[in-house]
């Protein structure tokens, strides 16, 4: 019989044991009777010879090999009964554990997904990233400093020369979101990564179906009109049907053949960015027509990932890489580079970073906040543990008699400690189960709150092995943390007084000291957590109080997709796009309730485009050498955004493709270039050394408006009319009269666009105010979370203090009754009880405030215009802790004064 079988056959085994021993007993009695002893005497003698029959049974059970399991089952049942007997304690403990473990698991789920999880590729630890993977986009600059983005030419030249790598893969740093149609079906938004032919082999990602992209697809521009689908996309759009291989996918009027599906689980090398299709880099010119992306040696838009040869150390690879990088770049600059370029290249370099976890722009921005949150939730869990330990201590005292009885009846100390720990484990396991369920939902919600947008960030947050292991470890740790001390304390009692007294007076003072220090710790941690929360909230208030420079109210921003509209690119015909925009603008303008509208390259926080400019007759000075941020806008842009004009004029219908080039600049730019005079009428051109100096005339100056972030400094900005920088710009801003029906306006704008061109698709609509809020979503989430956890911490500490004082008042009922009877004033008694908690509060503050002051420094980079020692935040935190602690102490203290002396004395 297996031990499990024995466990279930326990009842029968128990009966058998009883029967067997009974048989022995009876046989022995009979034998004695045969030798002439009377029955009653025979029984008595036999019983004496047998000794402790229960002990024999216990020893037999022990030799069965299932005793530990029986104990465990017994203890679990006993534990459950005990917990059910005190529902108040159990529910508070469970709630705080579920919250504590849940919060830790939720944050860890994010930490794991964003910071820890390795790429699902072969030997990810051999991969290195060129640069830290934070840069995205396109730059034509000559490298200076740490370089992140590389050109296609560089990729090929470098790959040919480098010897440290088993292979190097290239991928476009920005993912293309474009409309695609499979075999003529409806267009759907598809995320496309352009990759080198080496991408799949270097990463070691095999095809699930068909084949992956090969070098031959990528050896000449236009060579590989093929696409590899991700497994997820293939399931969604082809229902996993293998016959879909070979079908044609149409993207931006080009056809690609579906040649394969990548292995399930692989969705690109960028964390929190999911790829639908991979297309060879050789096809990039088809997707970005008119841009000479493959041939231009300074069209730098690729991220490179190398796989080191097994015997090559990262340091070796790094020195070779930097040497080759400089050599190739010098070569690209031609025979006579400028002195500045030579210096730039001399300063430039490539930092190799570990690539096992892929490229993650999220990692950079969320790393510190996540670590801080992780610390905070860990502290909250610690406070919860302290609280439960405190409650268990109190229960331990209440159960002194029970424990003493059990030990007097022969239970070993280990056995009782084990039983008490089982109770703790029951609590923490139930708390963990609830917490895990909570965490799963919470981490998804947190991610949505941190990165708001129309589509959820594709990050797999299903609890995986590391998360489950983390939670399990946490559960065991918490059970030990809050269970151990009380269990040892409860069993370390002296028997006799405990049995005599029944109220455990002997262990009260010891318990009191432990309980008090736990509460001091709770108060200290609460101060720290609330101070952190206060800092984040104050920083958020500063952020939201920033003047954006534009009027964010009553503006809708439509994002439009023109990829299926077949608009001309880089041809003299391209002005049709602008005419189309103007048509939409005037049609929407006519909708009742619409005040003004305009297309724009960017509204706010939608990306950036910047370069240096040179004004005619103005030397470059340190003040004006910063890059200028550009925008292409329609004629109604400034009135739609509510950006006031300070001098000159804004764009009108007279500013056409063929009229002289004009620009509106912002106040900062005007002031930096012309500190003493007017900028209107002055001429400039874009670039470090422009080809057509002074081709653009400044016609107006507007007030500064935020460009990409609320906390950016005052940037120099220049606006150009769409007619002179032709193209179709996806953002369409509409200002409506306050009080107009927003929903109706949205519907009518959609209709107008569809009437003018049904192939212009509306991807989404947001309010400009929401766009502003979304730009500080992370900050506001952190502020909300830290406040939430801060108050949970104080609340738990208050429960602890309330519990301790109520208990001590209850124990001292008779003493207080006597005092009252002898004429003590109730105010005196109140003070006497409060004094105890005041002392704890003061010690807690004395420990907590220095800890808070010395540790908030690490938050500095996350705070906007706020010192990490901000007196307001810290004073508020201290005040909140003081008020809440005193409130918690007040209730039991007041009940002390309400004691009826007669009853108190009788009760004893």
């Amino acid at each position: 019989m297996s031990w499990l079988g024995r466990l279930f056959a326990r009842k029968r085994l128990e009966n058998d044991l009883e029967k067997e021993l009974r048989f022995h007993f009876e046989s022995q009695v009979e034998e004695k009777m045969r030798s002439g002893i009377p029955q009653s005497e025979a029984r008595r003698l036999t019983r004496l010879e047998f000794g402790d029959i229960d002990q024999i049974k216990e020893d037999c059970r022990g030799s069965r090999g299932t005793l530990w399991l029986e104990y465990l089952v017994q203890d679990i049942w006993f534990g459950l009964r005990q917990l059910r007997k005190s529902p108040g304690f159990t529910s508070i403990a469970l709630l705080s554990l579920a919250l504590g473990i849940g919060a830790n698991t939720a944050i860890f789920t994010l930490v794991n997904a964003i910071l820890l999880r390795p790429l699902p590729v072969q030997n990810p630890s051999e991969l290195v990233l060129f640069g830290d993977g934070r840069a995205q986009g396109l730059t034509f600059s000559v490298p200076d400093g740490k370089w992140q983005l590389f050109s296609y030419s560089f990729f090929h030249d470098f790959r040919r020369l480098a010897t440290s790598y088993a292979g190097i893969a290239a991928v476009n740093s920005t993912q293309f979101a474009s409309k695609a149609s499979i075999a003529g079906s409806a267009y759907q938004t598809t995320h496309v990564d352009f990759v080198s032919g080496s991408y799949f082999p270097v990463l070691g990602v095999p095809a699930f179906l068909g084949r992956t992209i090969l070098e031959s697809d990528d050896n000449a521009p236009g060579a590989g009109p093929v696409a590899v689908a991700s497994y997820g996309w293939f399931q969604r759009h082809c229902n996993g049907d293998p016959s879909a291989l070979g079908k044609t996918i149409r993207i931006q009027s080009h056809d690609y053949t579906l040649i394969g599906v990548a292995r399930p689980g692989f969705s690109g090398v960028t964390v929190a960015q999911s790829t639908d299709l991979w297309i060879p880099l050789s096809m990039e010119t088809e997707m970005s027509p008119g841009q000479n992306g493959l041939a231009n040696k300074f069209y730098q838009s690729l991220q490179l990932i190398g796989r080191l040869k097994p015997d090559v150390k990262p340091a070796q690879a790094s020195s070779e890489t930097n040497l080759l990088f400089k050599q190739i770049m010098r070569d690209y600059l031609g025979p006579q580079p400028s002195q500045k370029h030579i210096e730039d290249i001399a300063h430039a370099g490539v930092e190799l970073t570990p690539g096992s976890r892929g490229i993650s722009p999220l990692r950079a921005s969320f790393s510190l906040p996540l670590k801080i949150l992780m610390t905070i939730v860990a502290l909250v869990l610690l406070i919860a543990c302290a609280n439960i330990a405190n409650m268990l201590l109190a229960r331990g005292v209440a159960r002194t008699r029970e424990v003493a009885v059990r030990m007097a009846l022969g239970a070993s100390r280990g056995r009782v400690v084990f039983q008490l720990l089982i109770e703790s484990a029951l609590l923490s396991v139930s708390g963990a189960v609830a917490g895990l369920a909570l965490a799963w939902k919470a981490s998804i919600l947190l991610l949505q709150m941190a990165t708001p947008g129309p589509a959820p960030v594709p990050l797999n947050l299903t609890p995986d092995l590391p998360v489950l292991a983390f939670t399990l470890g946490l559960t065991v740790l918490t059970a030990l943390l809050f269970g151990c001390l009380p269990a040892l304390r409860a069993t370390g009692i002296e028997f006799t007084p405990a049995l005599k007294d029944g109220r455990g007076s002997s262990s009260v003072s010891a318990r009191g000291a432990l309980a008090r220090s736990l509460i001091v710790g709770q108060i200290a941690l609460s101060v720290l957590l609330l101070a952190v929360a206060g800092l984040f909230v104050r920083s958020l208030i500063h952020l939201t109080g920033i003047d954006t420079g534009f009027d964010k109210h009553n503006v809708l921003v439509f994002s439009l997709d023109s990829s299926t509209a077949n608009l001309p690119h880089h041809s003299p015909d391209e002005i049709r796009s602008v005419h189309l925009q103007e048509q939409i603008e005037s049609r929407v303008q006519a909708i009742p309730g619409v005040q003004s509208d305009s297309f724009a390259f960017f509204t706010f926080n939608q990306g950036s485009w910047s370069d240096l400019v040179l004004f005619q007759g103005v030397p470059r000075t340190p003040e004006n050498a910063d890059p200028v941020f550009f925008n292409n806008v329609g004629n109604g842009f400034f009135s739609t955004m509510g950006i006031p004009l300070l001098a000159g004029r804004t764009f009108t219908a007279q500013d056409t493709q063929n009229s002289p080039k004009v620009a509106v600049i912002n106040e900062s730019m005007a002031r930096r270039f012309f500190p003493n005079g007017s900028a209107v009428g002055r001429r400039f051109a874009v670039g470090e050394t422009p080809d057509h100096p002074g081709e653009i005339e400044v016609i107006g100056v507007v007030k500064d408006a935020k460009y990409n972030a609320l906390d950016e400094g005052s940037l120099q900005a220049a606006y150009f009319p769409c007619t002179q920088n032709v193209g179709f710009y996806g953002s369409f801003a509409v200002r409506y009269a306050s009080g107009a029906n927003r929903r109706e306006i949205i519907a009518r704008v959609r209709n107008s666009i569809a009437e003018i061109n049904p192939n212009i698709l509306v991807d989404g609509v947001t309010g400009l105010d929401d766009q502003v809020n979304q730009s500080i979503a992370t900050q506001s989430l952190i502020a909300r979370l830290t406040s939430f956890f801060g108050f949970i911490a104080v609340f738990l500490a208050c429960i602890g203090i309330y519990g301790l004082l109520s208990y001590s008042v209850a124990r001292r009922t008779s003493e207080l009754g006597i005092r009252l009877a002898l004429g003590a004033q109730s105010r005196m008694l109140l003070w006497q009880v409060l004094r105890e908690s005041l002392l704890l509060l003061i010690i807690g503050l004395a420990i907590g405030i220095p800890i808070a002051l010395s540790s908030t420094r690490i938050l500095k980079s996350l705070l906007y215009e706020l010192s990490p020692l901000d007196p307001a935040a810290i004073t508020t935190a201290v005040a909140a802790v003081v008020v809440m602690t005193l409130a918690a102490a007040w209730l039991p203290a007041r009940s002390a004064t309400k004691i009826n002396p007669i009853q108190a004395l009788r009760a004893e």
């Binding site: 058998d16 044991l17 029967k19 067997e20 021993l21 048989f23 022995h24 009876e26 046989s27 022995q28 009979e30 004496l48 010879e49 047998f50 000794g51 402790d52 002990q55 024999i56 020893d59 037999c60 022990g62 030799s63 069965r64 090999g65």
Partner: protein
Amino acid sequence: MSTADKFDLPQGTLDLLILRVVALGPIHGYAIAQRIQQMSREALQVQQGSLYPALHRLEYKKLLKATWKESETGREAKFYELTAVGRARLKTETENWSRLTDVVALILKGTLEGI
């Protein structure tokens, strides 16, 4: 429970004795105790407190197997018998035991002569 004229069994010896007694044929616990007492000419008296845990341990180790049968008095009793493993174990343990006693006797004798 006087043990004045008896001595404690060395560790593990009880198991060997039980195996030996059970080897004679299916037998219940009470009879095992009596048989050991008789065979040792009343020198050994096995306490119930050590007999039954030992029986259960041997059963758990699959050296013994047990069946419920009617006893000589007509009541149901638990009869133990050796398994194949038990029989093999008895053989090796017996050999071990006699080797051990021979060696111990040899040494004790030698020591006495040397005094």
